[in-house]
Symmetry: C2
DNA sequence: TATTGTTATACTCTATAACTATA
DNA sequence: TATAGTTATAGAGTATAACAATA
């Protein structure tokens, strides 16, 4: 049996508010102050999924191609990615993350997880409450992945 | 009894990933394309909490005073807020949200809630799963409010 | 012709430094 | 002297339009 419209609406409102507030709080934690959200999102994508072209990155990040060119310029100047011309289709440029880029992503993730773990520790949640949060996390990811 | 470090770390990682992905997806939904996140955050604060000075807004949004001046300039030009000189302390400027500003916030919230409700409907969650999400929302808010 | 990427240009948000007006 | 707000200036991210190189 599927859920009622009222339950859906109530859940949506609660979850929307909680999600925005927590995301905002966690977003402050970064490995380097010189990193923007846009740059970090690209690095995280490259680390997870390997090399990509400029236009593929632009589609995934929902920005225009000139925007992505500019973001990649910034990352390349800082040594976090490298451009490689694609030999098969020479219009294309492949972008790879460097070791320094990987390190930056890993460190940022570590800091955010640490911040959140500290916040969870402070409110002294029970194992049952943490289980609820993990179950909800899985449900949230299923929603996004659809 | 409080939770183990391992549970805290696992929960933090799961929740951090789920939160960022969902927030990112929902952030696309706005009432007007001309609204930035920075502007919307200020309007939402003014709607919830009433008039504020520039410097109070700057502290709450964690930006500098000149930044907030600029954000308020944009909002005032579009008619979503009004500046009023403070008669008691004439260095101060009070900022109030207008009816148009309130409408914009309400409409944006409505769109985001609708988008999320539609997403939840599509994955066909049970009432029990929605309850888990609502319980988790409350837990997330308690974490942020500490 | 269509696609990939870049450059040119402009607007917004961000910052720091310097300034005005008021307390 | 300190505080509230603004202006000046600069850097990053975003966009659209126009362009080069390649398919």
């Amino acid at each position: 049996m599927s859920a009622s419209d009222e339950s859906l609406a109530l859940t949506a409102t609660d979850l929307r508010m909680a999600t925005f507030r927590l995301a905002r709080r966690l977003r402050c934690a970064r490995a380097a102050d010189s990193m923007s959200d846009a740059q970090l999102a690209v690095l995280a994508d490259l680390r997870m999924n390997g090399r990509r072209t400029i236009s593929t990155l632009a589609v995934r990040e929902r920005v225009t191609a000139p925007s992505m060119t500019s973001t990649i310029n910034g990352l390349e100047e800082q040594g976090f990615v490298v451009r490689t011309p694609d030999e098969e289709d020479r219009r294309r440029v492949q972008v790879d993350i460097t070791d320094a880029g990987i390190e930056l992503v890993v460190e940022t993730i570590r800091r955010r997880d640490e911040l959140l773990a500290d916040m969870l520790r402070e409110v002294e949640y029970t194992e049952a409450e943490l289980t609820t949060l993990r179950e909800a996390s899985a449900l949230m990811r299923r929603v996004v992945e659809r």
